[in-house]
Each structure stands twice: as C-alpha cells, then as structure tokens.
C-alpha cells in the first residue's frame, strides 16, 4: 500500500460525529428533565385535536413548563404550516 492509498483510506473521524450527536441529545434530555410525566401524552392528544382543523406534525407542537416565581406555567406553541391553513371539517 502506497502513501496515497494510506491517505485515501484513512478512516473518517467518527468520534467527532458521536460527540456532536451526544451534545444535542444530552442538552435536549436535560431540558425535558423534571417536567411532568404527562407532557408527552398531552402533546399527542393535542395533536389529534389540532389536526381536526389544521394539518401539523408532532414536532410543530412545543410544550414547556416554565417556573414563574411560585407558579408553574404551561407554555404551548403550535407552528402552523406555510400555506393558508384550510379547515378539513
């Protein structure tokens, strides 16, 4: 095997891919920690209701629990599709 082959067949740096994937997943999981267990269920059920009127994907629904002093606030946002939302019902 010559020097050029050696350079060409050098394995790609998979460790940096691993690190990048971990960085994303870990920060995501940390932010969803200590949130109520019902959030995922609530999100799916909301999706079903919203879909009666507008077609959106699950990841268009963002639910967060924020602390505001003594209170916990459930924040909900739904990103609507680009085109004019038409009712299906």
């Amino acid at each position: 095997m010559g020097i050029l082959d050696f350079l060409r067949t050098r394995p790609k740096n998979t460790a940096s891919i691993a690190k990048e994937r971990l960085r994303i997943i870990v920060s995501q999981e940390r932010s969803s920690r200590n949130t109520p267990d019902y959030l995922p269920m609530l999100r799916t059920e909301l999706l079903a209701v919203i879909r009666k009127y507008v077609h959106v994907d699950l990841d268009a629904i963002n639910i967060q629990v924020e602390r505001d002093g003594e209170h916990e606030v459930l924040e909900l946002s739904v990103a609507l599709p680009e085109h004019k939302p038409g009712a299906t019902g």
């Binding site: 095997m1 998979t14 460790a15 691993a18 690190k19 870990v26 920690r33 200590n34």
Partner: protein, 270 residues
C-alpha cells in the same frame, strides 16, 4: 464516619462490577474497613469477581427478610480481613429489595464501624439501581467512551441529583465522579473513539480516572482476583490511581496516551 459509595452507570456491561471489586479492595488495602454489596438481584456477579462464590451461604435478600443475620451473611475476603462481601440473591424477584430493608442493612453496617460501603448497582434505572443509589453519600458513575453509555450516564447523573436521600434532605444531589473505563488511546488518537475531553465536555464533569481497555481485566475475572491486585496490569494501576484521587490525593493520569507508532506501522496497520 461511614461513607456509602454507589458504583452506577445506567448501561450494563460498562465495568461497574469490575470497578466495585477493585474499589472495595483498594480501600481495604489502605486499611479501611469495607463492605461491598451486590445489588444485582437475580444476576449476581460480584462474588465471582471477588473470588468468593463458593462461600456464599446467605445473601442480601436473606438479611433484608431477616432469614439470616448480617454477620452470618457477610463473607470475609480471603486476602484482606477488613473486607467483606454481601452477595446478591440468585433466585428472588427484584421486588425482594425494599427501601426500608436496604436502609436497615446500611445502618447496621454503620453501627458495626465500617468506613466504607460500596454499592454495586445493577444496570437500568429500575428498583435495584434506584435503591443502590438512594442512600449514597457519593457516586462513581462508570462510563465508556461510547454514545449510549454517555447518554445513560447523563440520565443517571440526573437521578443522582433528584431521586436520592441526599437530594430529598435538601443537601443537593449526590456528589458524583466520572470514571471512564474501557478506554483505548490508540482508537482515540485515530478519531475512532470519544476522548476524555469529549466525555467531560458533553457531561460537564471532570473525569476522576481513566481505566484502559485491557486483557488483564478478563484474566483477573477468570481467576476471581480483582484486577487492582495485578501489579503488572495497566488497568489495575489505573484503579490504584483513581482510588487515591477519590481519597483526595493528586495524581497525574497514566495510560491515556497512544503509544507512538512509526510511519511504517501506521501505513501497514497495527
């Protein structure tokens, strides 16, 4: 004062039992009175790694259910008479461990003047793993340089900071140390394995020690001798260093750099 240390990880097969056996033995070598408890009910392993499997008469579950006394159930190590093993039960279901029962056994060990209690956690985040960490004063989180292990460690760090007595008593999370095991410096230097720095950066915690991947770990387990007792093993020596750091000593990292290879070797493989 008794210190209870949990060895935990989330993921299985990362080296918790190997670490528990070497940690307990290493502390005993420093003259401390140590008990090491296997929390892996149904899949006991620690007795094999410690080499005392033929002397198990009663186990942890027997003590919890008051079918045997703690004294009858603790197995004294052949090599260090200040080191005791409490084996896991092989047959009972996981529900056999109760929070009260575990608490009582730990309290009795404290009364008996043990300096350290090492809790070898099972994999997962179920009851056994929960009870192994619940009473801990400190945690050693064993992590491999591999995505699923790092992610699981982060979940375990989250549980240590919320689902423990330490946290419930308002003292904050259980102080945790990372132990990076099965590390292969050659693979790190070729970009095929997460580095020490990568793992520290992702988890946001410094690494207490790095245990290299080494064949001597298998031969130690074949013989039922904790690898820390193998003076010729890099992995064993890395455990010696890590335990010294756990006790507050400063020691430089060893065995974390790839051996320098000549161009010939690099071109024609290792």
């Amino acid at each position: 004062m008794t210190e209870t240390i949990v060895v935990t990880s989330g993921k299985g097969g990362v080296g918790k039992t190997t670490t528990s056996a070497s940690l307990a033995t290493g502390l005993a070598m420093q003259g401390k009175k140590v008990a090491v408890i296997d929390f892996d009910v149904g899949l006991r392993n620690l007795d094999l790694i410690m080499g005392c499997e033929r002397r198990v008469v009663y186990d942890f579950v027997n003590v919890i259910h008051q079918e045997a006394t703690l004294k009858q159930s603790l197995i004294r190590d052949k090599r260090h008479d200040n080191l005791y093993v409490l084996a896991a039960s092989q047959t009972r279901d996981k529900e056999a461990l109760t929070q009260d029962g575990v608490g009582r056994v730990l309290d009795e060990l404290k009364t008996d003047g043990f300096d350290y209690i090492v809790c070898d956690s099972p994999a997962g985040i179920e009851k056994g793993a929960f009870l192994a960490m619940y009473f801990a004063d400190r945690a050693l989180v064993v992590v491999n340089p591999e995505v699923s292990s790092v992610r699981d460690s982060d979940r375990i760090l989250g549980l240590l900071s919320s689902k423990t007595r330490h946290a419930e008593n308002g003292k904050g999370g259980v102080p945790a140390h990372l132990l990076l095991t099965r590390y292969n410096p050659e693979r790190v230097s070729s970009g095929q394995m997460l580095s020490i720095g990568d793992v520290e950066e992702v988890l946001g915690l410094p690494v207490l020690g790095v245990i290299p991947e080494h064949d001597s770990v298998l031969s130690a387990s074949n013989q039922g001798v904790p690898v820390i007792l193998d003076a010729t093993s890099n992995a064993g020596q890395a455990y010696v260093d890590a335990i010294a750091r756990l006790l507050g000593e400063e020691r430089p990292m060893r065995f974390t750099e790839a051996a320098k290879k000549g161009l010939f070797k690099r071109m024609f493989g290792s």
